[in-house]
Symmetry: C2
Subunit: 457 residues, 2 copies
């Protein structure tokens, strides 16, 4: 019998997801239906696949949405997270499984009991971050525990970057995902984490100055800044007794120091619009955030304001962005500072047609076993194939696709609104990801062994 999968939203991240499901569609007896408001961006190769159907779908039209969901066995929603709830409610009504790569919203969580009663699997956070991070972390955590170890420290960092061979600007960064999220990263709340048993709080304006450093074999050095939500998974992971829990985002070393200049200026603010932004030059935009002077240049005012030394190489990063240009214009009406800054960055940070992206993930697991303190570092690097088959699309799309098929095949059966942290889920998925070249490498390293009697704690 044919099993039908509805994929809602055919955005950037669906290339590998579609390839995987269509490739298996004959042997697995699958029919893939893509529903999107705008189907024009879907490639001819996909559209013409015999096991694929494309339909225009506006999820705000109830009839259209319900009829699309009713006729399938499982729904994959690749829409922005805020749209999932409508689809989830219909999936519950018409008894369909659901897979998303997004964080579980409070509304979605509320459906859990009814989803369990209906015997349905609503699998969420099964992309890259969240997704592969959950699965790969829980695999090591469970293994340490199964061996009788006790977790002392868990740190987890992930970043979407540009592949080394195309890493050719001074920021060592290009947009490989939604640029707006990059500009707004870290806003909306204080970063909280726990370090050697002490709570730590970092306000947004200090976030990019409190970085950690990482070395990844063959790929060099990286830095990481804290996520807001380090403590969110403390209970889910069973880490209530861990002394250190820290999650964050990875960049190449030096990015954060330079990005901090925008944060300090207020140029990442998205809460108000600028007057006359359309005809404003890049230089005038930066000058909005600097003290008035009848004589001093924007350059000197900025150096003085943020205490940037004459020989600080960060300066060249600003110049590379044409930040002081007197002719380039923002060109957006009523832009917020964040929107104006995004425009400036897109001029320079857009991934070229032939360029590849790179995903890096780094976990640290500190633990105690037989009275001895140890640490395992686990690292993942994935390089994209091209601008469509990006490492981001691969690492987000493949776990979603694998999970969907395993749910249909009855290999993942525990019902409920869930994230992939149980062995039933992560073991088969990680195993298959390995065969698709998504491989973690593990390293045993010394555990730093902090002094618990420190005056600083």
């Amino acid at each position: 019998m044919v099993r039908k999968i509805l994929i809602v939203g055919a955005g950037k991240s669906t290339s590998y997801l579609l390839d995987y499901l269509l490739e298996k569609s004959d042997t697995e007896n699958l029919k893939v239906i893509i529903g999107d408001l705008d189907t024009s961006s879907i490639s001819g190769k996909i559209k013409s696949h015999p096991n694929c159907a494309v339909r225009t779908l506006d999820i705000f039209r109830e009839e259209e949405r319900i009829s699309a969901i009713q006729e399938v066995d499982l729904v994959i929603s690749m829409l922005p997270a805020r749209f999932h709830i409508k689809i989830a409610e219909d999936c519950l009504t018409y008894k369909k499984h659901l897979v998303t790569a997004s964080y579980i919203s409070p509304e979605l969580k509320k459906l859990n009991e009814k989803v369990i009663e209906s015997g349905l699997v609503f699998m969420n956070e099964i992309g890259l971050d969240p997704g592969i991070d959950h699965m790969s972390a829980m695999q090591v955590i469970d293994r340490i525990r199964d061996n009788g170890g006790k977790i002392l420290l868990f740190e987890s960092f992930c970043g979407g970057l540009v592949a080394p061979e195309f890493d050719n600007n001074l920021w060592n960064y290009k947009f490989t995902w939604n640029p707006r999220n990059v500009v707004l990263a870290g806003q909306g709340g204080t970063a909280k984490f726990i370090q050697e048993g002490t709570y730590k709080y970092i306000p947004y304006h200090k976030l990019f100055r409190r970085t950690e450093f990482f070395e990844v074999e063959d790929f060099g050095k990286f830095e990481g800044y804290a996520n807001r939500d380090s403590l969110n998974y403390r209970e889910a992971y069973g880490l209530q007794d861990a002394l250190t829990i820290y999650r964050g985002t990875m960049r190449r070393v030096g990015f954060s120091k330079a990005w901090n200049i925008f944060v300090q200026l207020g140029a990442t603010d998205d809460t108000y619009t600028i007057e006359n932004s359309e005809n404003m030059t890049y230089r005038e935009f930066i000058n909005l955030f600097l003290p008035y002077s009848p004589t001093d240049s924007v350059e000197l005012k900025l150096r003085h304001y943020l205490k940037i030394d004459q020989d600080d190489s960060t300066w060249e990063k600003l110049v590379e962005l044409n930040l002081f240009d007197k002719s380039k214009k923002i060109g957006i009406t009523d832009a917020t500072p964040a929107q104006a800054l995004q425009k400036i960055l897109e001029d320079k940070w857009t991934l070229g047609d032939k360029e590849k992206d790179m995903i890096v993930m780094y976990h640290k697991f500190g633990y105690e076993l037989n009275g001895e303190k140890k640490q395992i570092d686990s690292k993942l690097v994935v390089i994209g194939e091209d601008r469509i088959h990006t490492a981001m699309a691969k690492t987000v799309g493949l776990p979603v696709a694998i999970a969907a098929l395993k749910i249909l095949n009855g290999q993942i059966t525990t019902p409920g609104v869930q994230i992939p942290i149980s062995k039933e889920v992560y073991q088969p998925i990680l195993k298959e990801l390995e065969s698709l070249d998504i491989n973690f490498k593990e390293y045993e390293v010394p555990y730093p062994g902090y002094n618990p009697d420190s005056v600083a704690s």
Copy 2:
């Protein structure tokens, strides 16, 4: 015929307000009714005044509120601004005038048409700031215009401080008003202003490093940081063509530099609660915001993090607050950082029983007259009498009281939801305030005369 005034809310700021009205109650034929949830803090001297009545009033009990409003001719609301709207709606229904010292809320503004139709005066923002600032500024602005001048620049700063003879801590600051507002000052939005025709934006984390300095004769030097709302009164004041509009808050020099340490740490954050705040020491509180170290002291970590030199006198200000104390405890359950910080500050910054406060206001008016650029600086200093009769209570309460009486006496008649910027309102009130020793001094000074062709603009 007796005219009845209902004063809702008998808080800190009502001492002069009550004294003024009761003193005139015989000659003006007034009956003052004080309505408050808790009437116990009202002094016996007030309570026993023959023209005063005190009643328990819960404004959330509709019947109680309506009956209190129905029986008077005018209502003065000294409640927090968010409570005015209920009272205003009743005032409209039962045709009573209303006076408040608070900012006009959007809901209140919506009543304007109906208030005009009813021929009522709803006078708002008639305290100190807002209040005396509006009136004193408009008096000079109107005078310059009436003489044919054109306003180029308007700056206005105000601060509530401690009187010089009791100014005996290193911050040169004590709480003379709501401490919570002082801790949260500047939060909730980017400061916006306009300087020599250029818009300027200051994010919260830079607000206390972008200060201006002022000299007040006989009182020495002050500094000012920007308010969020500099441009709010641009149209009301008729300053659409002014090149510079800047409003702010005054402190003694050095306050902002030290306060910025709390801002940088994130210790003024009011958006989340701290775990275990009750038993946390002051030292542990500060350490929440500093990087973890197994060996380094809180002191060194703070100096390094915020680059505070060994000989920076700001450090002594922190020590004076017992910030590094290992035994003093926050003592508040589930405190936000802002609440914890307020507790620390209240230990040291509470105005003593015999101590006096001080109000300072400073306006600058730059203008062009007959092709010549000129400037007038206008300054006000008011010193409190004691802890009840504070300069704050005087400068907030007297304009409210005077306005109320002038409305009752038909000297202020233009109806509507308004602020005191018309001559009809500010002229008689400022004149009477002068007789009560609230006096601005004016100084003609050179206009700085910026170069409009500057590379920086």
